[in-house]
């Protein structure tokens, strides 16, 4: 009942002050970390790009999509690399895939558990192993389908969902980004 003594303005002032201070603090944090974050993203990708498209000497990222175009020493286009993250069994599977001008896969790299991969270790996580990934190299888009669906990729026993997720994502990626190969 003694509320009449308190000014209704005071709560608003306090709220306003806290908001403004927070906004400043947040803007500062954002600005301080944004260069490092950009660099991190760049690092993570750059070290892997060469491994999935070995013919390329340098890469250029396309503005609005997750695609990098690879050029050789004479600045001729040799292929592209794209990232995608399809839903696997336990969560998204981070994939980086390289494709040459003949629309054949040149390399494929998959995120590790330390980087957030949530597939079952020993089963779905086997998509990371060389044996599975090797199957994609040199294959064309239409061959990239599970054997059970008429294609040439053998799924990992006991890990059909993870195998299928990777396979479908690679094929869809090639379809979606083939325009950048021209």
């Amino acid at each position: 009942m003694g509320d009449k003594k308190e000014s209704p303005v005071r709560p608003l002032i306090v709220l306003g002050a806290v908001s403004v201070i927070s906004a400043f603090l947040l803007t500062w944090v954002y600005i301080s970390t944004s260069t490092k974050i950009e660099w991190q993203r760049g690092e993570a990708i750059n070290s892997s790009l060469a491994s999935v498209l070995p013919q390329a000497k340098r890469f250029e990222k396309i503005e609005t999509v997750d695609v990098w175009v690879g050029y050789d020493g004479e600045n001729k286009k040799v292929g592209i690399a794209f990232t995608c993250a399809p839903r696997g069994y336990g969560g998204p599977i981070g994939i980086l895939c390289g494709v040459d001008l003949e629309k054949k896969v040149t390399g494929i790299r998959i995120a590790s558990a330390a980087e957030g991969l949530k597939e079952t270790p020993g089963l779905g996580a086997k998509v990371r192993e060389a044996d599975f990934r090797q199957q994609f190299i040199g294959k064309e888009r239409d061959e990239i389908r599970l054997k059970s669906e008429g294609g040439k990729i053998a799924a990992i026993t006991g890990a059909t969902i993870s195998s299928k997720a990777v396979t479908e994502a690679v094929r869809e990626g090639i379809t979606r980004y083939e325009e950048f190969l021209r």
Partner: protein
């Protein structure tokens, strides 16, 4: 992704409580009785749908154009808190019956991770507004479904002979483990996965 698949995934395959571990505090706190679970469930559906709509709109109409993405966390949670306040006041005044059914759960929902998580997920999954609403509906109904099942279980558990160390939360967690195991079986349904 077509809406039916999004709904099914949110409701069963990626059930927010049993498979994403989100929304646990109210889950264990409220699921002791069927009636309280029902009230909480209704409140969650109500708030989640509205919160998803409002935060989605704010994100796309305000945060992106003004390049303020780093304010996402702060803005979303404030919106949810404000929304809950308004809803509670509105219900108290205009829909007394509804208020008595679920009103008291509303303040608890502000800290319900499920609401905030859903608002974040629809952005991360890059859904459009319609897909986001379907996802929110599926998620909140999945939440309600599970706490209802669970409240029935817990009401029974109260009469079961359980050793003292396990009574209460401990046995509830173990029961949740078993139900969650069952739900794991949904992965792969219609080709859906986590």
């Amino acid at each position: 992704m077509n809406p039916a698949k999004i709904f099914l995934a949110a409701f069963l395959v990626n059930n927010i409580i049993l498979l994403r571990y989100i929304g646990l505090c109210p889950f264990f706190g409220v699921s002791t009785r069927f009636s309280t679970s029902f009230g909480m469930g209704m409140a969650v559906v109500f708030v989640m749908m509205m919160a998803t709509f409002v935060t989605f709109a704010l994100y796309h109409l305000l945060l992106i154009p003004l390049n303020l993405l780093f304010l996402r966390t702060a803005v979303f949670i404030l919106v949810i808190a404000a929304l809950v306040q308004f809803v509670e006041m509105f219900l108290k005044k205009s829909f007394r019956a509804l208020y008595s059914a679920m009103g008291i759960y509303l303040p608890l929902i502000t800290t319900n991770c499920a609401i905030l998580a859903t608002t974040f997920l629809v952005i991360d999954y890059r859904y459009n507004l319609f897909q986001a609403m379907v996802f929110a509906l599926g998620t909140s109904l999945g939440f309600t479904f599970v706490i209802l099942i669970f409240s029935a279980l817990r009401e029974k558990l109260e009469y079961a002979p359980i050793s003292p160390a396990f009574r209460g939360y401990a046995i509830a967690f173990i029961a949740a483990a078993l139900v969650s195991l069952g739900f794991l079986g949904f992965i792969g349904l219609f080709g859906l996965s986590l």
